[in-house]
Subunit: 306 residues, 2 copies
């Protein structure tokens, strides 16, 4: 089974729903009742040695930061802010220096993104893994889900995309502040963070919203790393569509707000990359030609290089 199939299987098998649960598996975080004005956001995510990082290519400080960042990105995607973090560590060896560096990564993130580390667990393991459970909150009026995109909405991304595995994945900047600016100022209709890749996550958002999309492929903002490793424009676009681990925000907004969206929030670029369509078709436009986009776009994209 592929990961998405397994997750769908788990979702159908296990997930229960009560009146306290606003959203369960299937969004970036679970959303449950909390106070009169706020929802509680809960998410769990792990990073594993040799899957999400290699010990000879990353410092423990970077690994600690990454473990937290991928969870904060999920909270940002809901429009929320982080409150508390719980950390579970599987550790092959217990040297003080190693652990100290890992902890410094956690501490940096706690200070930068203003949350508190309230719990932890440590166990022996043959490989290093870090599981982080992040708890956040969002005002009910600002909660953003994946399923609200409507025909005619414009599609935007923060930052630059592609080739994040080269460098950026060890220095992820969760877009909490950008998200907060957006939800406070605009009626964002749907939001998701890009973890699997633009093509995959945009299709997820579209499926949840029961719509399609049209992406202006030449408009996708490209990272410097993509430009360095690509020989052609087509190659650059394929990286940006499919590489994953960008941890940027992908969001939609009604067309009438087009002129109000700023070019930057703080120093983070905001780029219009496409529009939502009624039919559930996933299209890209490249040199005025229409191209089908798939979640495994890399395999199904021969026309780009023709």
């Amino acid at each position: 089974m592929k990961e998405k199939e397994i997750i769908e299987f788990i979702r159908k098998s296990v997930i229960t729903r009560s009146k306290n649960i606003i959203a369960g598996i299937g969004d970036d975080t679970a959303v449950v009742k909390y106070t009169k004005n706020d929802y509680l956001l809960l998410t769990i995510d792990s990073i594993v040695e040799n899957v999400h990082f290699k010990l000879n290519q990353a410092t423990y400080y970077q690994i600690g930061k990454k473990a937290i960042a991928v969870n904060l990105s999920d909270i940002a995607a809901m429009g929320g802010i982080p409150l508390y973090i719980l950390i579970s560590i599987g550790l092959p060896e217990g040297e003080k220096e190693t652990i100290g560096n890992l902890l410094n990564g956690f501490k940096y993130m706690a200070k930068r993104y203003k949350f508190e580390i309230i719990g932890g667990n440590l166990t022996k393991s043959n490989i290093l893994f870090i599981d982080v459970c992040a708890v956040g909150k969002v005002e009910k009026k600002y909660l953003k889900l994946r399923n609200g995109a409507k025909e005619g909405d414009l599609i935007y991304v923060t930052g630059n995309l592609g080739a994040s595995q080269i460098k950026k994945h060890l220095n992820i900047k969760p877009r909490i502040e950008e998200s907060r600016f957006l939800v406070k100022n605009f009626p964002i209709s749907a939001m998701i963070d890009i973890s699997d890749g633009l093509s995959s996550d945009l299709i997820t958002l579209s499926k949840e919203s029961n719509v399609g999309f049209n992406i202006f492929l030449e408009k996708i903002p490209l990272s410097n790393e993509v430009k360095k490793i690509s020989k052609t424009k087509e190659e650059e676009i394929l990286h940006a569509l499919n590489d994953g681990e960008d941890y940027e925000l992908l969001f939609t907004i009604p067309e009438k707000y087009k002129n109000n969206i700023p070019e930057k929030i703080n120093k983070t670029k905001i780029t219009l990359i496409g529009e939502i369509t009624k039919d559930r078709e996933y299209k890209g436009i490249y040199k005025n030609r229409e191209i089908n986009i798939t979640a495994s776009g890399f395999d199904h994209f021969p026309i780009l290089t023709s």
Copy 2:
């Protein structure tokens, strides 16, 4: 570094405290503000292949149950009830049957202990690991911490202790209902669940409460497995003191309630095993002789066999 040293190091290095946090690392769960009458309880715990289970000695159904149970036990130790569970799975292979059996374990626990599975994460990994984040709640008036034991309080345990690694660790029954009966009916002064072993966890409770204890070693309730594998009474007691993974409740209560404590709650035996003392000394009484108890009691217990 030993695990306890590392946890203490983490506690000192990382843990922050704000007015919203009632208890952080150092108790069974973190406790944070929630509603007017209730606190929210949050805990994370993992089980790892070849550390907490072996795949040739446990079914996936049992592993799924255990991953949940160890977390519910922490919530029981605070006097609370579970609300939500988030599960992160590291999986070497993705066969549908394997995952189905694991999920059935989760589902059994969700139904039996009345919580909802609201989130999950799945990643590739060379070894199987399951991280569970459990969210519970407890009425402010019923919250139990480790640090409330007072001189003269009596010490009780639920169930039987020792040799849990043989069988019981794959069929842990978190003492939620027993805990709820206790906190509703008695002014429990301190509570903890026995995960590391009676000696170790009783010393933890005593250190947090700044007291000592005197254990009536012959009164410790022994599991059938302990009796089967032990040749002498002394050996039985050592198992019960030091084996760990019992997941029973250990609690203290002022002496004047002695005659009110029932012999059983539901079908779970409640046993008086000792008393809290003023001096921070950790003692046991065996055949009218006084014995020093240590967290690594097994190494320091020669007098028992003399």
